[in-house]
Symmetry: C2
Subunit: 380 residues, 2 copies
């Protein structure tokens, strides 16, 4: 017998309340009971996104929402600026390229945040750029980009949209969609919303909707205007992923009860405790600039393989975290602290890392990181 | 207090076994436990589709699978033949048009099946046609098309793919993917597989994969070759809809235990009982040709509004069936008998229809249809 602990940067843990809500008999997506539920959810998503814009619900994972954020707003041959500082920055590039959108790339070394001046300069040099694509939190590196500062630059340009992949950011830290002027913001169900994967959410500004009228890329399943018109009537254009939507309602209720600022504070505290614990163990954090409060990417100590740390966490202790992606494979391991996570998820994660490293021959003193985390978590 | 009965043509009822499986803590889609589960599922889906072809699992509803069945195999400017005999035939047309594929349409009057000779003639007149798109079961009309006969015509043409929307057919009645030579077959989770909506499945033949190498339409989220290569390693290309996939495993186990031929016999019997009960009540079935065993579309009797029948079933008796779509709105109502349905789902449906019609002033004798259904269902 071995208990399991899910501390991966998505999917994240799902609360018993949400699991039970989803275990109810299936609703029909064209029945009034569903419409009533969906109306409430539409309101709650605006609250969650801090916006008055439409927030579309899509039956796909976050990548589908990202694809639609390209195809609905850009035509083949138009130019986009992509901030590429990790696996998900690369994904924006690949989607643009798959749909004939020319890409001006800001290559950011993995582990760093983009400097807003880089965006400013790229826009000045390429006034034909129609949209800026970036991550709020880059899950592959554990780094946050300064969305507020970038948006301030982009919004000066009447003809350029600010598009944010906030998949591992929305509901983790403050993303002020309307106040900062974010045109398109994408998130997914399996991060801070603490649902299973299978839903994407996209908020779309008026400025972006005007662009959508002219965008010539092909789209059907991810036709945002069609979804907007259906969802205004509390229906989805195609069959809704009803069980996940019922779970979403339960999740949003829990988040509303906690309050958005408290949700952010909780994530900030858990992230801070994790980072300080790792540093206290003599480990180095991978992010060189702003670390994301969603997850902590830790450099595997000299002579220790990050993939073995990741594997031992899972096999020996039932803790599913994550390894490194692409060229970071073996070099880092990643522990998430977002969604349905609390004080003792951090304690479990830190304790397990200590025990795994000890088992691999590291000289650390057991309990060091845990003690540091406890000290910080006492403040909750 | 009013108990609810879901008898809609999708989503269909989900068994307690599957609901409980999905209520388990979330698995991580990159962990070995998931890979092991997914390997089993890939085998079971081949059994379910009666094929040795790859069967891809997508995080979307059936429409996403349909879109990918166009974009991965056809280039803009190429020509497709679409059998359009209802709402879902229309959807094939709209998807093709959205992606620049020219459509040769066989317009089939709603309620009728396409005659295979019509396909033969269209292919003779338009030898440049690269794919034939059709439904196995058209949910909007309750009609089945003769896929076997159509496929026999199409497979004579080396350069033409046979593409079947089997969303409300696969697992309801016999669809022999390999034996009949079906190149691309699409289904969804919320029909005979008796899961919540959110997964699409697509089987792809070798002939179709060869075509995919040349197809120039844009695709990213629904990039089938990328999915094939990932899924061969028991991973999905992007995040998997893990809770639905865990439910899928439970559902496939139940279907395997029952046996495919028994699954088909059960659906045949339930459909037969429903149809005979309706006829025994003096009601007319909407299908003029082969009715589908997935659902029964019934013409609302003279002077009775089909939408009121649909509404009263739900509001007075908690039975969610379906009304008519588009020009059939008010003219028909539809009761499904697919997926996790058995003898007493039919009895409930027929009894509720009798009680609703009686309440609306119809002169039928209560119990007439129920008795006829019982007589037939005794054979189970």
């Amino acid at each position: 017998m071995q208990k399991k602990y899910l501390l991966a940067p998505g999917p994240t843990q799902v609360s018993p309340e949400v699991l039970l809500a989803m275990a109810q008999p299936v609703l029909h997506h064209r029945a009034p009971e569903f419409a009533k539920l969906f109306e409430q959810i539409r309101q709650d998503l605006k609250w969650f996104f801090q916006t008055q814009n439409d927030v579309l619900v899509l039956a796909s994972t976050g990548t589908g929402g990202m694809e639609g954020s390209v195809t609905n707003f850009l035509s083949p041959g138009e130019k986009a600026l992509v901030v590429n500082g990790g696996k998900f920055g690369e994904r924006w590039m690949k989607i643009c390229q798959a749909y004939g959108v020319k890409v001006e790339e800001i290559k950011v070394e993995w582990g760093h945040s983009v400097r807003p001046e880089q965006v400013e300069e790229a826009l000045r040099k390429n006034p034909e750029i129609k949209a800026v694509f970036t991550q709020a939190s880059e899950s592959s590196t554990g780094v946050a980009h300064d969305i507020r500062a970038i948006a301030q630059i982009v919004r000066n340009n009447d003809d350029c949209l600010m598009v944010v992949d906030a998949v591992s950011a929305m509901g983790v830290f403050d993303i002020q969609t309307d106040h900062w002027g974010l045109d398109i913001v994408v998130t997914g169900s399996q991060k801070a919303l603490a649902l299973p994967p299978g839903l994407a959410f996209v908020s779309v500004s008026e400025k972006a909707w005007r662009r959508a009228d002219k965008a010539k890329n092909s789209r059907f399943y991810f036709n945002f205007k069609k979804e907007r018109d259906s969802q205004a009537k509390n229906q989805t254009a195609y069959t809704a992923a009803v069980s996940l939507i019922v779970g979403l309602d339960a999740s949003l209720r829990m988040l509303k009860q906690e309050g958005l600022q408290n949700v952010f504070s909780r994530h900030r505290l858990l992230a801070h405790a994790t980072r300080e614990a790792m540093k206290g163990l003599g480990l180095q954090l991978f992010p060189k600039d702003s670390p994301s409060d969603a997850l902590t990417a830790v450099v595997a100590p000299e002579g220790f393989d990050g993939q073995v740390i990741y594997r031992d966490l899972r096999v020996k202790y039932g803790v599913t975290a994550a390894g490194g992606q692409d060229h970071l494979k073996g070099k880092v391991f990643r522990i998430a602290h977002m969604g349905y996570t609390d004080v003792f998820d951090v304690i479990v994660g830190v304790a397990a890392v200590e025990m795994v490293l000890k088992g691999m021959g590291h000289s650390l003193k057991l309990g060091t990181g845990v003690g540091i985390a406890q000290e910080i978590l006492l403040k909750k």
